[in-house]
Amino acid sequence: MTLSRDEVAHVAMLARLGLSDDEVDRLGAQLDAILRAISRLNEVDTSAVAETAQVGGLVNVWREDRPRPSISREQALANAPDSDDGHFRVGAIQE
Protein backbone atom coordinates (compact mmCIF):
# COMPACT_ATOMS: atom_id res chain seq x y z
CA MET A 1 0.00 0.00 0.00
CA THR A 2 1.06 3.56 -0.58
CA LEU A 3 -0.49 6.59 1.03
CA SER A 4 -1.37 9.39 -1.35
CA ARG A 5 -0.45 13.00 -0.59
CA ASP A 6 -4.16 13.73 -0.17
CA GLU A 7 -4.53 10.97 2.40
CA VAL A 8 -1.54 12.22 4.38
CA ALA A 9 -2.87 15.79 4.24
CA HIS A 10 -6.30 14.53 5.38
CA VAL A 11 -4.80 12.73 8.38
CA ALA A 12 -2.73 15.82 9.24
CA MET A 13 -5.90 17.93 9.24
CA LEU A 14 -7.68 15.41 11.49
CA ALA A 15 -4.70 15.69 13.86
CA ARG A 16 -4.65 19.50 13.57
CA LEU A 17 -1.04 19.49 12.40
CA GLY A 18 -0.30 22.26 9.90
CA LEU A 19 2.43 20.39 8.04
CA SER A 20 4.51 21.97 5.29
CA ASP A 21 4.53 20.30 1.86
CA ASP A 22 7.96 18.88 2.62
CA GLU A 23 6.73 17.40 5.88
CA VAL A 24 3.73 15.83 4.13
CA ASP A 25 6.06 14.12 1.67
CA ARG A 26 8.54 12.98 4.29
CA LEU A 27 5.94 11.79 6.81
CA GLY A 28 3.95 10.05 4.07
CA ALA A 29 6.99 8.00 3.07
CA GLN A 30 7.81 7.22 6.72
CA LEU A 31 4.24 6.17 7.53
CA ASP A 32 4.28 3.88 4.52
CA ALA A 33 7.50 2.27 5.70
CA ILE A 34 6.22 1.88 9.27
CA LEU A 35 2.92 0.37 8.15
CA ARG A 36 4.83 -2.12 6.00
CA ALA A 37 7.13 -2.96 8.90
CA ILE A 38 4.22 -3.70 11.22
CA SER A 39 2.40 -5.96 8.77
CA ARG A 40 3.47 -8.84 11.08
CA LEU A 41 0.16 -8.10 12.84
CA ASN A 42 -1.73 -9.75 10.01
CA GLU A 43 0.10 -13.03 10.48
CA VAL A 44 -1.39 -13.54 13.96
CA ASP A 45 -4.62 -15.53 13.92
CA THR A 46 -7.14 -13.50 15.88
CA SER A 47 -10.31 -15.07 14.50
CA ALA A 48 -11.42 -16.28 17.95
CA VAL A 49 -9.94 -13.47 20.05
CA ALA A 50 -11.58 -10.48 21.72
CA GLU A 51 -9.95 -7.04 21.85
CA THR A 52 -7.95 -5.88 24.87
CA ALA A 53 -8.36 -2.17 25.54
CA GLN A 54 -6.75 -2.19 28.97
CA VAL A 55 -5.02 -4.68 31.25
CA GLY A 56 -5.84 -3.14 34.62
CA GLY A 57 -8.66 -5.62 35.15
CA LEU A 58 -10.94 -2.97 36.65
CA VAL A 59 -14.52 -2.34 35.52
CA ASN A 60 -16.84 0.50 36.47
CA VAL A 61 -14.69 2.45 38.89
CA TRP A 62 -17.04 4.53 41.00
CA ARG A 63 -16.51 7.26 43.51
CA GLU A 64 -18.74 9.32 45.72
CA ASP A 65 -20.24 12.32 43.91
CA ARG A 66 -18.89 14.73 46.47
CA PRO A 67 -17.15 18.05 45.83
CA ARG A 68 -13.52 18.36 46.80
CA PRO A 69 -11.08 21.27 46.72
CA SER A 70 -9.91 22.31 43.28
CA ILE A 71 -7.40 24.74 41.83
CA SER A 72 -8.53 28.36 41.64
CA ARG A 73 -9.50 30.17 38.45
CA GLU A 74 -6.31 32.23 38.71
CA GLN A 75 -4.20 29.05 38.89
CA ALA A 76 -6.08 27.52 35.99
CA LEU A 77 -5.39 30.60 33.88
CA ALA A 78 -1.80 31.15 35.03
CA ASN A 79 -0.27 29.14 32.15
CA ALA A 80 -2.60 30.44 29.44
CA PRO A 81 -0.99 32.20 26.47
CA ASP A 82 -3.89 34.69 26.53
CA SER A 83 -6.73 35.28 28.95
CA ASP A 84 -9.28 37.97 29.55
CA ASP A 85 -11.63 38.64 32.43
CA GLY A 86 -11.22 35.17 33.94
CA HIS A 87 -11.50 33.30 30.64
CA PHE A 88 -9.15 31.71 28.13
CA ARG A 89 -9.02 33.95 25.09
CA VAL A 90 -8.71 32.66 21.52
CA GLY A 91 -9.07 34.07 18.00
CA ALA A 92 -12.17 34.06 15.83
CA ILE A 93 -13.82 30.67 15.47
CA GLN A 94 -15.26 31.57 12.06
CA GLU A 95 -13.10 33.08 9.31
Binding site: L3, V8, V11, A12, L14, A15, R16, L17, G18, L19, S20, E23, L27, Q30, L31, A33, I34, L35, A37, I38, S39, R40, L41, N42, E43, V44, T46, V49, A50, E51, T52, A53, Q54, V55, G56, G57, L58, V61, R63, I71, Q75, A76, A78, N79, A80, P81, D82, F88, V90, G91, A92, I93, Q94, E95
Partner: protein
Protein backbone atom coordinates in the same frame (compact mmCIF):
# COMPACT_ATOMS: atom_id res chain seq x y z
CA UNK B 1 31.27 10.41 55.03
CA UNK B 2 31.49 13.86 53.47
CA UNK B 3 31.97 15.77 50.21
CA UNK B 4 32.94 13.53 47.31
CA UNK B 5 32.64 10.51 49.63
CA UNK B 6 28.87 10.96 49.35
CA UNK B 7 28.87 10.48 45.57
CA UNK B 8 27.64 7.08 44.46
CA UNK B 9 26.21 6.07 47.85
CA UNK B 10 22.94 4.16 47.91
CA UNK B 11 19.63 5.28 49.40
CA UNK B 12 20.10 2.79 52.24
CA UNK B 13 23.63 4.04 52.98
CA UNK B 14 22.57 7.68 52.88
CA UNK B 15 19.58 6.96 55.10
CA UNK B 16 21.75 5.22 57.69
CA UNK B 17 24.28 8.06 57.67
CA UNK B 18 21.51 10.64 58.09
CA UNK B 19 19.87 8.86 61.00
CA UNK B 20 23.16 8.27 62.79
CA UNK B 21 24.00 11.95 62.47
CA UNK B 22 27.11 11.40 60.31
CA UNK B 23 25.72 13.67 57.60
CA UNK B 24 22.86 16.08 57.14
CA UNK B 25 20.36 16.36 54.29
CA UNK B 26 22.04 19.68 53.52
CA UNK B 27 25.39 17.86 53.08
CA UNK B 28 23.80 15.32 50.75
CA UNK B 29 22.20 18.09 48.73
CA UNK B 30 25.47 20.03 48.46
CA UNK B 31 27.22 16.90 47.19
CA UNK B 32 24.42 16.20 44.68
CA UNK B 33 24.50 19.76 43.34
CA UNK B 34 28.31 19.71 43.12
CA UNK B 35 28.29 16.43 41.19
CA UNK B 36 25.48 17.67 38.93
CA UNK B 37 27.47 20.79 38.06
CA UNK B 38 30.66 18.73 37.57
CA UNK B 39 29.11 16.35 35.04
CA UNK B 40 26.09 17.95 33.45
CA UNK B 41 27.88 20.01 30.78
CA UNK B 42 28.79 16.58 29.35
CA UNK B 43 25.73 14.51 30.31
CA UNK B 44 22.85 17.04 29.98
CA UNK B 45 20.65 14.95 32.27
CA UNK B 46 18.93 17.96 33.82
CA UNK B 47 16.40 20.50 32.56
CA UNK B 48 14.94 22.58 35.42
CA UNK B 49 17.21 22.83 38.47
CA UNK B 50 15.33 23.28 41.74
CA UNK B 51 18.09 24.25 44.15
CA UNK B 52 16.13 26.80 46.19
CA UNK B 53 13.26 24.39 46.67
CA UNK B 54 15.75 21.62 47.49
CA UNK B 55 17.51 23.69 50.15
CA UNK B 56 14.20 24.34 51.86
CA UNK B 57 13.27 20.64 51.62
CA UNK B 58 16.68 19.63 53.02
CA UNK B 59 16.31 22.05 55.92
CA UNK B 60 12.91 20.56 56.78
CA UNK B 61 14.24 17.02 56.38
CA UNK B 62 17.05 17.73 58.82
CA UNK B 63 14.52 19.04 61.34
CA UNK B 64 12.38 15.96 60.84
CA UNK B 65 15.30 13.58 61.31
CA UNK B 66 16.31 15.45 64.47
CA UNK B 67 12.74 15.12 65.72
CA UNK B 68 11.87 11.57 64.58
CA UNK B 69 15.27 9.86 64.55
CA UNK B 70 15.03 6.23 63.44
CA UNK B 71 11.31 6.67 62.80
CA UNK B 72 11.98 9.15 59.98
CA UNK B 73 10.88 7.68 56.61
CA UNK B 74 13.55 5.91 54.51
CA UNK B 75 13.61 8.61 51.80
CA UNK B 76 13.68 11.56 54.20
CA UNK B 77 16.53 13.94 53.33
CA UNK B 78 17.66 11.97 50.30
CA UNK B 79 18.15 13.73 46.94
CA UNK B 80 16.02 12.68 43.95
CA UNK B 81 15.60 13.71 40.31
CA UNK B 82 12.25 13.57 38.48
CA UNK B 83 11.65 12.86 34.81
CA UNK B 84 10.24 15.98 33.20
CA UNK B 85 6.88 14.35 32.49
CA UNK B 86 6.07 14.33 36.24
CA UNK B 87 4.24 17.37 37.55
CA UNK B 88 5.70 19.20 40.52
CA UNK B 89 3.73 22.25 41.57
CA UNK B 90 5.26 25.52 40.44
CA UNK B 91 8.33 23.96 38.79
CA UNK B 92 8.68 24.17 35.01
CA UNK B 93 7.58 20.86 33.45
CA UNK B 94 8.15 20.56 29.70
CA UNK B 95 8.09 16.83 28.80
CA UNK B 96 11.22 17.89 26.84
CA UNK B 97 8.88 19.56 24.34
CA UNK B 98 8.75 23.13 23.03
CA UNK B 99 4.95 23.04 23.08
CA UNK B 100 4.76 23.41 26.86
CA UNK B 101 7.99 25.29 27.48
CA UNK B 102 7.48 27.39 30.60
CA UNK B 103 4.52 25.37 31.88
CA UNK B 104 4.33 25.44 35.67
CA UNK B 105 1.89 22.83 36.93
CA UNK B 106 -0.67 24.05 39.46
CA UNK B 107 -0.47 20.73 41.31
CA UNK B 108 1.90 17.86 42.18
CA UNK B 109 1.37 14.31 40.90
CA UNK B 110 0.64 11.52 43.37
CA UNK B 111 3.88 9.51 43.02
CA UNK B 112 5.94 12.68 43.48
CA UNK B 113 3.76 13.80 46.39
CA UNK B 114 4.39 10.48 48.14
CA UNK B 115 8.14 11.11 47.89
CA UNK B 116 7.67 14.63 49.24
CA UNK B 117 5.57 13.25 52.10
CA UNK B 118 8.59 11.14 53.10
CA UNK B 119 10.81 14.23 53.05
CA UNK B 120 12.49 13.81 49.66
CA UNK B 121 14.80 16.54 48.35
CA UNK B 122 14.24 17.32 44.65
CA UNK B 123 17.38 18.50 42.82
CA UNK B 124 15.77 18.88 39.40
CA UNK B 125 13.73 17.66 36.47
CA UNK B 126 15.43 15.29 34.07
CA UNK B 127 15.76 15.39 30.32
CA UNK B 128 13.91 12.76 28.29
CA UNK B 129 12.64 12.03 24.82
CA UNK B 130 9.87 14.47 23.91
CA UNK B 131 6.64 13.28 25.59
CA UNK B 132 8.53 10.08 26.50
CA UNK B 133 8.61 8.97 22.84
CA UNK B 134 11.97 7.49 21.95
CA UNK B 135 14.68 5.03 22.91
CA UNK B 136 17.80 7.18 22.85
CA UNK B 137 16.88 10.54 24.39
CA UNK B 138 17.78 12.13 21.04
CA UNK B 139 14.15 13.29 20.64
CA UNK B 140 14.46 15.87 23.43
CA UNK B 141 13.71 19.36 22.10
CA UNK B 142 16.43 20.73 24.40
CA UNK B 143 19.48 18.48 24.23
CA UNK B 144 20.53 14.88 23.75
CA UNK B 145 21.83 13.14 26.89
CA UNK B 146 25.25 11.52 27.21
CA UNK B 147 25.66 8.04 28.66
CA UNK B 148 27.85 8.31 31.80
CA UNK B 149 29.86 5.29 30.58
CA UNK B 150 30.71 7.08 27.33
CA UNK B 151 29.15 10.46 26.72
CA UNK B 152 29.37 10.00 22.93
CA UNK B 153 26.81 7.23 23.32
CA UNK B 154 23.09 7.39 24.07
CA UNK B 155 21.76 6.64 27.57
CA UNK B 156 18.70 4.96 26.09
CA UNK B 157 15.25 6.40 26.44
CA UNK B 158 12.89 7.75 26.95
CA UNK B 159 13.89 8.27 30.62
CA UNK B 160 17.53 8.85 29.60
CA UNK B 161 18.18 11.77 31.94
CA UNK B 162 16.73 9.92 34.93
CA UNK B 163 18.95 6.88 34.23
CA UNK B 164 22.03 9.04 33.58
CA UNK B 165 21.49 11.12 36.74
CA UNK B 166 21.79 7.95 38.84
CA UNK B 167 24.58 6.38 36.76
CA UNK B 168 26.60 9.61 37.00
CA UNK B 169 26.27 9.63 40.80
CA UNK B 170 24.28 12.87 41.01
CA UNK B 171 21.37 11.29 42.85
CA UNK B 172 20.97 7.84 44.42
CA UNK B 173 17.54 7.44 42.83
CA UNK B 174 15.21 9.03 40.31
CA UNK B 175 11.75 8.50 38.87
CA UNK B 176 10.99 7.73 35.26
CA UNK B 177 8.05 6.42 33.27
CA UNK B 178 7.86 3.29 31.13
CA UNK B 179 5.41 2.89 28.24
CA UNK B 180 7.33 0.38 26.11
CA UNK B 181 10.62 0.06 27.97
CA UNK B 182 11.42 3.67 28.86
CA UNK B 183 12.69 2.77 32.34
CA UNK B 184 14.18 -0.69 31.77
CA UNK B 185 16.04 0.02 28.50
CA UNK B 186 17.92 3.15 29.72
CA UNK B 187 18.65 1.35 33.02
CA UNK B 188 20.23 -1.45 30.99
CA UNK B 189 22.27 0.94 28.84
CA UNK B 190 23.43 3.00 31.84
CA UNK B 191 24.25 0.12 34.20
CA UNK B 192 21.66 0.88 36.89
CA UNK B 193 18.52 -0.82 38.22
CA UNK B 194 15.23 0.25 36.57
CA UNK B 195 11.82 -1.06 37.58
CA UNK B 196 8.44 -0.86 35.86
CA UNK B 197 5.77 -1.95 38.34
CA UNK B 198 2.55 -3.78 37.43
CA UNK B 199 0.18 -1.52 35.51
CA UNK B 200 -2.06 0.17 38.05
CA UNK B 201 0.33 -0.16 40.99
CA UNK B 202 1.60 3.41 40.87
CA UNK B 203 -0.84 6.26 40.31
CA UNK B 204 -0.47 8.09 37.01
CA UNK B 205 -2.10 11.24 38.40
CA UNK B 206 0.21 14.10 37.48
CA UNK B 207 2.11 12.11 34.84
CA UNK B 208 1.87 13.79 31.43
CA UNK B 209 0.09 11.06 29.48
CA UNK B 210 1.64 9.36 26.46
CA UNK B 211 -0.28 6.06 26.14
CA UNK B 212 -2.59 5.70 29.10
CA UNK B 213 -3.13 1.92 28.93
CA UNK B 214 0.65 1.33 28.95
CA UNK B 215 2.27 4.15 30.99
CA UNK B 216 3.63 3.34 34.43
CA UNK B 217 5.91 5.32 36.77
CA UNK B 218 8.88 3.60 38.40
CA UNK B 219 12.30 4.15 39.96
CA UNK B 220 15.95 4.07 38.89
CA UNK B 221 18.41 3.12 41.65
CA UNK B 222 21.82 1.52 42.11
CA UNK B 223 20.53 -1.50 44.05
CA UNK B 224 17.41 -3.63 44.09
CA UNK B 225 16.92 -2.94 47.79
CA UNK B 226 16.78 0.80 47.03
CA UNK B 227 14.23 0.06 44.30
CA UNK B 228 12.09 -1.81 46.83
CA UNK B 229 12.19 1.20 49.18
CA UNK B 230 11.18 3.66 46.47
CA UNK B 231 8.54 1.32 45.09
CA UNK B 232 7.07 0.92 48.55
CA UNK B 233 6.88 4.70 48.86
CA UNK B 234 5.09 5.35 45.55
CA UNK B 235 2.88 2.26 45.13
CA UNK B 236 -0.71 1.99 46.26
CA UNK B 237 -4.24 2.94 45.41
CA UNK B 238 -5.05 6.52 44.47
CA UNK B 239 -8.64 7.67 43.95
CA UNK B 240 -7.33 10.37 41.59
CA UNK B 241 -6.32 7.71 39.01
CA UNK B 242 -9.27 5.50 38.11
CA UNK B 243 -6.90 2.85 36.69
CA UNK B 244 -5.04 2.63 39.99
CA UNK B 245 -5.33 -0.87 41.50
CA UNK B 246 -7.25 -1.07 44.79
CA UNK B 247 -5.63 -4.37 45.86
CA UNK B 248 -3.22 -3.97 48.81
CA UNK B 249 0.49 -3.65 48.02
CA UNK B 250 2.62 -6.57 49.16
CA UNK B 251 5.57 -5.47 51.31
CA UNK B 252 8.48 -5.65 48.85
CA UNK B 253 11.14 -5.76 51.57
CA UNK B 254 9.98 -8.71 53.67
CA UNK B 255 10.65 -11.38 51.07
CA UNK B 256 13.54 -9.61 49.37
CA UNK B 257 16.20 -11.83 50.93
CA UNK B 258 14.37 -15.14 50.56
CA UNK B 259 16.44 -16.09 47.50
CA UNK B 260 15.42 -18.16 44.50
CA UNK B 261 15.96 -21.68 45.77
CA UNK B 262 13.18 -23.89 44.45
CA UNK B 263 11.84 -21.14 42.24
CA UNK B 264 10.98 -22.00 38.62
CA UNK B 265 12.46 -19.53 36.15
CA UNK B 266 11.60 -19.52 32.44
CA UNK B 267 13.90 -18.39 29.67
CA UNK B 268 11.73 -17.30 26.73
CA UNK B 269 13.50 -18.49 23.60
CA UNK B 270 11.98 -15.73 21.43
CA UNK B 271 13.91 -13.14 23.49
CA UNK B 272 17.20 -14.46 22.17
CA UNK B 273 16.57 -13.03 18.72
CA UNK B 274 18.75 -12.53 15.66
CA UNK B 275 19.52 -8.90 16.50
CA UNK B 276 20.81 -9.80 19.98
CA UNK B 277 24.46 -8.78 20.27
CA UNK B 278 26.73 -11.73 21.14
CA UNK B 279 28.16 -9.90 24.17
CA UNK B 280 24.66 -9.24 25.51
CA UNK B 281 23.68 -12.86 24.97
CA UNK B 282 26.80 -14.08 26.79
CA UNK B 283 26.28 -11.77 29.78
CA UNK B 284 22.62 -12.75 30.14
CA UNK B 285 23.35 -16.47 29.78
CA UNK B 286 25.99 -16.17 32.50
CA UNK B 287 23.46 -14.37 34.74
CA UNK B 288 20.90 -17.15 34.19
CA UNK B 289 23.55 -19.69 35.25
CA UNK B 290 24.13 -17.68 38.44
CA UNK B 291 20.42 -17.96 39.24
CA UNK B 292 20.55 -21.70 38.53
CA UNK B 293 23.53 -22.05 40.88
CA UNK B 294 21.44 -20.36 43.59
CA UNK B 295 18.94 -23.20 43.43
CA UNK B 296 16.39 -22.00 40.90
CA UNK B 297 15.25 -24.43 38.24
CA UNK B 298 15.67 -22.91 34.81
CA UNK B 299 13.67 -24.09 31.83
CA UNK B 300 13.13 -22.86 28.28
CA UNK B 301 9.66 -21.50 27.56
CA UNK B 302 8.02 -20.08 24.47
CA UNK B 303 6.15 -16.82 23.85
CA UNK B 304 5.51 -17.29 20.14
CA UNK B 305 3.96 -13.88 19.40
CA UNK B 306 6.80 -11.88 20.95
CA UNK B 307 7.88 -10.39 17.63
CA UNK B 308 4.31 -9.22 16.95
CA UNK B 309 4.55 -7.12 20.12
CA UNK B 310 6.45 -4.39 18.35
CA UNK B 311 3.82 -4.09 15.61
CA UNK B 312 1.01 -4.11 18.17
CA UNK B 313 2.70 -1.42 20.22
CA UNK B 314 3.31 0.83 17.21
CA UNK B 315 -0.44 0.95 16.58
CA UNK B 316 -1.76 1.10 20.16
CA UNK B 317 0.76 3.59 21.61
CA UNK B 318 0.47 6.09 18.72
CA UNK B 319 -3.32 5.75 18.74
CA UNK B 320 -3.47 6.62 22.43
CA UNK B 321 -0.88 9.38 22.04
CA UNK B 322 -2.79 11.00 19.17
CA UNK B 323 -5.74 11.29 21.53
CA UNK B 324 -3.78 12.35 24.63
CA UNK B 325 -1.75 15.00 22.80
CA UNK B 326 -4.87 16.66 21.39
CA UNK B 327 -4.88 18.73 24.58
CA UNK B 328 -1.81 20.67 23.43
CA UNK B 329 -3.72 23.24 21.40
CA UNK B 330 -2.29 26.61 22.38
CA UNK B 331 -5.33 27.55 24.47
CA UNK B 332 -4.75 26.65 28.12
CA UNK B 333 -0.98 26.37 28.42
CA UNK B 334 2.27 26.44 26.52
CA UNK B 335 3.10 27.71 23.08
CA UNK B 336 0.71 29.66 20.89
CA UNK B 337 1.53 30.67 17.33
CA UNK B 338 -0.60 33.77 16.81
CA UNK B 339 -3.07 33.54 13.99
CA UNK B 340 -6.32 35.34 13.10
CA UNK B 341 -8.47 32.19 13.17
CA UNK B 342 -8.70 29.49 15.80
CA UNK B 343 -8.16 26.66 13.32
CA UNK B 344 -5.01 28.28 11.89
CA UNK B 345 -3.76 28.83 15.44
CA UNK B 346 -4.18 25.11 16.22
CA UNK B 347 -2.44 24.06 13.01
CA UNK B 348 0.51 26.42 13.38
CA UNK B 349 0.97 25.91 17.12
CA UNK B 350 1.06 22.14 16.83
CA UNK B 351 3.33 22.22 13.79
CA UNK B 352 5.78 24.55 15.54
CA UNK B 353 5.57 22.95 18.99
CA UNK B 354 5.91 19.22 18.31
CA UNK B 355 9.14 17.56 17.18
CA UNK B 356 9.52 15.07 14.32
CA UNK B 357 8.99 11.84 16.30
CA UNK B 358 5.93 13.16 18.10
CA UNK B 359 4.39 14.28 14.80
CA UNK B 360 5.18 10.88 13.29
CA UNK B 361 3.35 9.10 16.11
CA UNK B 362 0.39 11.48 16.12
CA UNK B 363 0.03 10.91 12.36
CA UNK B 364 0.38 7.14 12.69
CA UNK B 365 -2.14 7.00 15.53
CA UNK B 366 -4.62 9.30 13.84
CA UNK B 367 -4.40 7.20 10.69
CA UNK B 368 -4.87 3.93 12.62
CA UNK B 369 -7.98 5.33 14.31
CA UNK B 370 -9.43 7.00 11.22
CA UNK B 371 -12.56 5.89 9.44
CA UNK B 372 -11.89 2.94 7.13
CA UNK B 373 -8.65 1.88 8.86
CA UNK B 374 -9.77 1.37 12.45
CA UNK B 375 -10.60 -2.34 12.02
CA UNK B 376 -7.49 -3.18 10.02
CA UNK B 377 -5.09 -1.50 12.42
CA UNK B 378 -6.41 -0.49 15.82
CA UNK B 379 -8.92 -3.28 16.38
CA UNK B 380 -6.47 -5.84 14.98
CA UNK B 381 -3.73 -4.58 17.30
CA UNK B 382 -6.05 -4.82 20.29
CA UNK B 383 -6.75 -8.45 19.41
CA UNK B 384 -3.06 -9.28 19.05
CA UNK B 385 -2.58 -7.61 22.44
CA UNK B 386 -4.95 -10.23 23.84
CA UNK B 387 -2.91 -13.01 22.22
CA UNK B 388 0.33 -11.67 23.76
CA UNK B 389 -1.33 -11.26 27.16
CA UNK B 390 -2.69 -14.83 27.06
CA UNK B 391 0.71 -16.28 26.10
CA UNK B 392 2.22 -14.74 29.23
CA UNK B 393 -0.65 -16.16 31.32
CA UNK B 394 0.02 -19.65 29.99
CA UNK B 395 3.75 -19.39 30.64
CA UNK B 396 3.16 -18.15 34.19
CA UNK B 397 1.17 -21.33 34.86
CA UNK B 398 4.49 -23.17 34.35
CA UNK B 399 7.09 -20.82 35.83
CA UNK B 400 7.29 -18.21 38.59
CA UNK B 401 9.21 -15.57 36.65
CA UNK B 402 10.96 -15.00 33.33
CA UNK B 403 14.59 -14.02 32.85
CA UNK B 404 15.92 -12.59 29.58
CA UNK B 405 17.83 -9.64 28.12
CA UNK B 406 16.40 -6.12 28.57
CA UNK B 407 17.86 -4.61 25.40
CA UNK B 408 19.22 -6.44 22.34
CA UNK B 409 22.22 -4.09 22.27
CA UNK B 410 24.50 -2.08 24.51
CA UNK B 411 24.48 1.73 24.27
CA UNK B 412 24.99 2.88 20.69
CA UNK B 413 26.64 6.04 19.39
CA UNK B 414 24.58 9.25 19.20
CA UNK B 415 23.17 9.69 15.70
CA UNK B 416 23.70 6.04 14.75
CA UNK B 417 19.99 5.21 14.36
CA UNK B 418 18.34 7.84 12.21
CA UNK B 419 15.81 5.45 10.67
CA UNK B 420 12.69 5.45 12.91
CA UNK B 421 12.11 1.72 12.41
CA UNK B 422 15.67 0.85 13.51
CA UNK B 423 15.06 2.94 16.63
CA UNK B 424 11.75 1.17 17.34
CA UNK B 425 13.60 -2.18 17.44
CA UNK B 426 15.39 -1.04 20.65
CA UNK B 427 12.27 -1.90 22.62
CA UNK B 428 11.43 -5.27 21.10
CA UNK B 429 12.22 -7.09 24.38
CA UNK B 430 10.53 -4.63 26.74
CA UNK B 431 7.28 -3.80 24.90
CA UNK B 432 5.42 -7.10 25.52
CA UNK B 433 5.60 -6.47 29.29
CA UNK B 434 3.70 -3.19 28.90
CA UNK B 435 1.13 -4.73 26.56
CA UNK B 436 0.36 -7.36 29.23
CA UNK B 437 0.64 -4.92 32.18
CA UNK B 438 3.31 -7.00 33.95
CA UNK B 439 6.06 -5.94 36.38
CA UNK B 440 9.55 -5.95 34.88
CA UNK B 441 12.96 -4.93 36.14
CA UNK B 442 16.37 -4.46 34.54
CA UNK B 443 19.33 -5.22 36.79
CA UNK B 444 22.99 -4.80 35.69
CA UNK B 445 24.54 -8.14 34.68
CA UNK B 446 27.99 -7.33 33.43
CA UNK B 447 29.51 -5.72 30.37
CA UNK B 448 29.94 -6.22 26.65
CA UNK B 449 32.69 -4.20 24.95
CA UNK B 450 33.06 -2.24 28.19
CA UNK B 451 29.41 -1.14 28.21
CA UNK B 452 26.70 -2.24 30.67
CA UNK B 453 24.26 -5.07 29.96
CA UNK B 454 20.94 -5.54 31.74
CA UNK B 455 19.15 -8.72 32.85
CA UNK B 456 15.37 -8.39 32.65
CA UNK B 457 13.17 -10.20 35.19
CA UNK B 458 9.45 -10.36 34.42
CA UNK B 459 6.69 -11.59 36.73
CA UNK B 460 2.94 -12.15 36.71
CA UNK B 461 0.66 -9.20 37.44
CA UNK B 462 0.94 -7.92 41.03
CA UNK B 463 3.95 -10.16 41.72
CA UNK B 464 6.18 -7.08 41.91
CA UNK B 465 7.77 -8.33 45.12
CA UNK B 466 8.71 -11.62 43.44
CA UNK B 467 10.40 -9.78 40.58
CA UNK B 468 12.41 -7.73 43.08
CA UNK B 469 13.33 -10.89 45.00
CA UNK B 470 14.76 -12.61 41.90
CA UNK B 471 16.66 -9.47 40.88
CA UNK B 472 18.01 -9.04 44.41
CA UNK B 473 19.17 -12.67 44.60
CA UNK B 474 21.05 -12.28 41.33
CA UNK B 475 22.55 -8.93 42.35
CA UNK B 476 23.78 -10.24 45.70
CA UNK B 477 25.37 -13.31 44.11
CA UNK B 478 26.95 -11.37 41.26
CA UNK B 479 28.22 -8.53 43.42
CA UNK B 480 27.10 -4.94 43.04
CA UNK B 481 27.60 -3.44 39.61
CA UNK B 482 30.68 -1.34 38.92
CA UNK B 483 30.03 2.41 38.96
CA UNK B 484 30.42 4.64 35.90
CA UNK B 485 33.63 6.59 35.23
CA UNK B 486 31.87 9.81 36.26
CA UNK B 487 31.40 8.45 39.79
CA UNK B 488 35.01 7.27 39.96
CA UNK B 489 36.15 10.67 38.70
CA UNK B 490 34.33 12.45 41.55
CA UNK B 491 35.95 10.19 44.13
CA UNK B 492 39.45 10.70 42.68
Amino acid sequence: MSGSGLIGRTVVEMGAALRSGQVTAADLLDAAIAQRERVDARVHAFLARTDDLAREQARRADERIAREGEAAPPLCGIPVALKDVLCLEGVETTASSLIIRGFRPPYTGTAVQRLLDQGAVVVGKTNCDEFAMGSSNENSAYSPVGNPWDVERVPGGSSGGSAASVAAGVVPYSLGSDTGGSIRQPASLCGVVGFKPTYGRVSRYGLIAFASSLDQIGPFTQTVEDTALVYQAIAGHDPLDSTSAPTPVEDPLTGLRCGVEGMRLGVPREYFVDGLEPGVRAAVETAVEVLRSLGASVEPVSLPSTDAGLSTYYIIAPAECSSNLARFDGVRFGLREASPSLLQMYLRTRDAGFGAEVKRRIMLGTYALSSGYYDAYYRKAQKVRTVIHDEFERVFAQVDALVCPTSPTVAFTQGAREDPIAMYLCDVLTIPVNLAGLPGISVPCGFADGLPVGLQVIGPRFQDARVLRVAHAYEQAAGLARRSPLVAEAAA
